[in-house]
Symmetry: C5
Subunit: 89 residues, 5 copies
């Protein structure tokens, strides 16, 4: 998984019907030391602007969102599966 920060959300009227009702969040993730990139992740834990979140990718993302929405085969490849309280080092 990776940690990222929610920076916004994406609105799309024309989309795969299986995405209907899903919150698609823009998440900034650190690709390399201070080099940021953005990915779009389906939110299933109620994340908001500025939240530090845990993102899972690939088929695990699809499974998490499909289970949460009780809809099978939702074509996402990234999902927010947790909101970070703290990172202990």
């Amino acid at each position: 998984m990776i940690i990222g920060t929610v920076t916004g959300s994406v609105w799309a009227t024309r989309k795969d019907e299986k995405l209907n009702g899903l919150k698609l969040m823009v998440v900034a993730v650190e690709q390399k030391k201070s080099v940021m990139t953005s990915i779009i992740a389906a939110d299933i834990v109620g994340a908001g602007q500025g939240d530090q979140v845990i993102i899972t990718m690939g088929s695990s993302a699809r499974l998490a969102v499909s289970r949460e929405t009780m809809e099978s085969k939702i074509p996402v490849d990234a999902a927010i599966i947790g909101i970070v309280d703290s990172v202990e080092s």
Copy 2:
């Protein structure tokens, strides 16, 4: 998922038969700050030149296109599943 911009389309006569009838779009995606790269994605929402689109990758792309075309196991690893109206930050 990632956001990209449709910059063109790919024509290929000699191809896997399962790709027949599919629109294969060239999409510019931001790999890193202002570093662009291009990927090829199957379009299932009617995206056009210059559209900002949502792309899903891996087995989720295959599932979306297979469902849309009612053909199983279409060997794509990237699909356009939405056309962006707006990104709210």
Copy 3:
């Protein structure tokens, strides 16, 4: 797989219920010569701070954690599956 070093752990109260009870470790991995990045991996071998560990990614991570916890479809995409004794060159 990749080798990384455990640098900490992540705490998240609001998360996918399937993650309950899982230890989520922060692991520094070398992306390129001396360019480090961090990923979050579910630990199933009892790794601790500073341990050099073996990480598997994607559906193999899900399978390993699901088998270990006897819970199906745990939405992780990275798992610690070994603690390195030594690397022989």
Copy 4:
């Protein structure tokens, strides 16, 4: 998917038996602006030296090659599934 250029082929006597009879092509792909890298892809459309080709990755590659060769579970993660006629922008 990605577009690349066939630059050669790989010969390997000692290999997984499931690869027997498969053409393994070396394909140069643009990782970033003018930064090339090479991947090995199984060819199922008769691509040749210098051809510009469409490559699919991951489980979709396995499915395409397994279907084409009527052999199940062929352990490839990249396959050439089309030869580019043209890219229209």
Copy 5:
């Protein structure tokens, strides 16, 4: 797939039991022009130090190793599936 060079092997006493008996090799792969990185791959063709090898990643790696060892769901995401004789350009 990608080509890499075997540079060593990894020893881990505390590991997922499914990895028992597997040879885990350290393989240097060219990430970008002369930028090397190391991955760990399960060997199923008897590769040795200095061998140039073909590596498959993701679920295809798991399938190849599971078939070779007749153990299901082995949590690897990279496997050595061939030893390169030559690359013809």
